[in-house]
């Protein structure tokens, strides 16, 4: 079920169509009495209708960035526009265009779930009949209709999180900021929230979200920015980011070769194939040394009894699929046969770790 609320008149008036939904330039934030910048000169733009993910370890500056964009944190320098409105110069106009789902639940505990929604819409000038209609629709949509009259004190963490997202939709924002929207959600609720986010995007809402969840970033975001220590280390589509990690595409081969052939010779020849960076043999009974390339390949496994089987992992500099043909040909030439093959693509997590390191924050 999709739901497109017409934008309230106040929000549509000064919208400058065409420009990016979010534009951040050289943004710096230093909190008082702090030795370092929490956000240290980041720039990025988010196109209209895009889902943009900010990924980063604890303390990277994600929440601070969202804080500036949502007028809750005062920038030290740099500029930030949301929906074509300068959030520093015109915070009130900006607030009419954006909505935020905070990292911490901040529901109004004096009110019921439904009242939370209705009052939020009232603050944003949505007329009475319309806000009641929207509240019922959104409660239904988020599976909270039967708990609509409960005080939010009695809500579980996950229900509260859903209600926060529902609340953010009440005034039909142009840009929605979600700070770790799926933290604390069960797998069902997480998938559910992802669906809602995609649905909002389909309705033309621009989404900026932060997350630690690589899956979430990879499956949901059109583009991902990886942040650490207040700076943006990389910014691209999840695909491009993973492709950018050199030598991390792998091709695992299981080869049945003639009893007289030497594994070392086969490995030597495979290493010479264009696009292969390095070859290491993998013991038959384990799934492989795995992980990142870089270290010297381990010594080839001891020759095995017939029928001779060899398992190797090829680290590639080009796409894996393109190498299947030359490798097959090469093996046939030696009278060997491919019995199993599997492609390994690096994950966003590999990219994340390679950029931000393994230190705990």
């Amino acid at each position: 079920m999709t739901r497109a609320f017409p934008a309230t008149s106040a929000t549509s008036v000064t919208a400058t169509d065409g420009g990016p939904a979010v534009e951040v330039r050289d943004l710096v934030k230093r909190y008082p009495k702090r030795p370092v910048n929490a956000v240290d000169g980041i720039s990025f733009t988010v196109g209209r209708g895009e889902i943009f993910g900010l990924l980063g370890p604890n303390g990277a500056g994600k929440t601070t960035t969202i804080g500036v964009l949502t007028t809750r944190v005062k920038a030290t320098s740099g500029s930030a526009n949301v929906g074509g409105v300068d959030v520093v110069a015109h915070p009130v106009a900006a607030r009419a265009r954006l909505a935020v789902v905070p990292q911490r639940v901040n529901l109004d505990r004096a009110l019921t779930a439904r009242q939370n929604l209705v009052f939020h819409a009232a603050y944003h000038g949505v007329p009475v009949a319309e806000r009641n209609r929207r509240a019922d629709a959104v409660l239904e949509q988020f599976g909270l209709a039967d708990r609509a009259k409960d005080k939010v004190d009695f809500y579980s963490g996950g229900m509260g999180q859903r209600l926060l997202i529902a609340r953010a939709m009440m005034h039909a924002p142009e840009v929605l900021f979600l700070d770790e929207p799926s933290t604390g959600l069960d797998p069902q609720a997480r998938l559910f929230v992802w669906d809602r986010i995609r649905e909002m995007r389909a309705n033309g809402v621009t989404i900026v979200l932060t997350t630690h969840d690589m899956d979430e970033a990879a499956t949901l975001a059109d583009r991902v920015g990886i942040m650490d220590h207040g700076t943006l280390l990389a910014l691209d589509t999840p695909d491009a980011l993973t492709r950018s990690l050199p030598g991390s595409t792998t091709l695992d081969l299981t080869i049945a070769h003639a009893a007289g052939d030497s594994p070392a010779a086969i490995i030597g020849e495979l290493s010479a194939v264009r696009g292969v960076e390095q070859v290491e043999s993998v013991a038959s009974d384990q799934s492989g040394g795995g992980g990142m390339p870089g270290g010297p390949p381990p010594a080839p496994a001891a020759p095995q009894s017939a029928p001779s089987e060899l398992r190797v992992r090829l680290y590639l500099t080009s796409e894996a699929a393109a190498l299947i043909a030359p490798v097959t040909e090469l093996l046939l030439g030696r009278g060997a046969r491919l019995t199993a093959i599997s492609l390994g693509e690096p994950s966003l997590e590999d990219v994340f770790i390679s950029l931000t390191g393994r230190d705990l924050r």
Binding site: A10, V13, V73, H90, A93
Partner: protein, 265 residues
């Protein structure tokens, strides 16, 4: 300004109204708790000091009528102060409930002003209730119809100043210190506010008179007494009014500054 500034102006007024309506709505549902909270203390004060001590002969005949304006002033001032300060401390320190209202399309300072306006409304209700209660406990209330507008003005001013002091305290104090600060601030505020005695009569206790002159509550009490008991020596009403206006400006400025500091990192 963007071309929609008129509309954001209208939007801000609407948002302000909605914030106020939220507070009225929430209070409306806990009316009994609200009344108990604001009425019990002044009621007992009136009963023991005005009625019991009078009947036992420990106080002069007219003391009850000296006390009543002071108690009403104190009710207006302190109800407003507490109704701003306590919720703010909790909101900013723990629940962050106020965040959704801070995201409403109106200037952040207006969220603080709304708190002050609402607390003033609550305080006025409490203060007005003290008139019939005073009549019930003491058997008479010294006031003329002609004095009502001026009395109302002093109540409004007193509640506003109390709320502004509450805004200052509520944004300066952290939750862990709230009990300490209130113990240190509220008790002296209550006993140096000329609620239980006319300020002018302190001429022989000069140092205490000077301390009382610093307390804004003194001017609410004295203003009320000037209107309700004009025959008694009192600070001229215009002096009390001006003093309250001055305090209002000062505490609103400090309070709003503190509010902005807490609301925006």
């Amino acid at each position: 300004m963007p071309s929609g500034s008129d509309r954001s102006g209208a939007g801000a007024v609407r948002a302000f109204g909605a914030l106020l309506w939220r507070d009225v709505f929430v209070t409306g549902r806990e009316l009994v708790a609200f009344l108990a909270q604001v009425i019990l203390q002044p009621l007992f004060l009136l009963f023991v000091f005005g009625k019991v001590l009078g009947d036992l002969g420990y106080t002069q005949d007219n003391f009850a009528q000296v006390l009543l304006p002071g108690v009403i002033a104190f009710t207006a001032f302190l109800t407003a102060l507490q109704n701003v300060a306590f919720p703010l401390v909790i909101d900013f320190s723990y629940t962050k409930e106020i965040e959704d209202r801070l995201m409403a399309p109106l200037p952040t300072s207006m969220v603080a002003v709304e708190k002050v306006v609402f607390a003033t409304l609550r305080a006025l209700i409490a203060a007005v209730l003290m008139f019939p209660l005073g009549y019930w406990v003491l058997g008479e209330v010294s006031i003329t119809w002609a004095a009502v507008p001026a009395v109302a003005m002093f109540l409004v001013l007193g509640a506003l100043v109390g709320a502004a002091v509450g805004l200052t305290l509520g944004t300066l104090v952290t939750a862990s210190k709230i009990n300490l600060v209130f113990a240190i601030v509220l008790t002296p505020l209550l006993f140096t506010g000329s609620t239980q005695f006319p300020w002018v009569s302190l001429d022989d206790l000069r140092w205490f008179q000077v301390i009382c002159a610093v307390n804004p509550l003194t001017y609410v009490s004295e203003g009320m007494r000037a209107e309700m008991l004009p025959s008694l020596d009192h600070i001229p009403a215009w002096v009390s009014g001006l003093a309250l206006l001055g305090y209002l400006v000062v505490f609103m400025a400090i309070g709003i500054k503190g509010f902005l500091r807490r609301a925006i990192d």
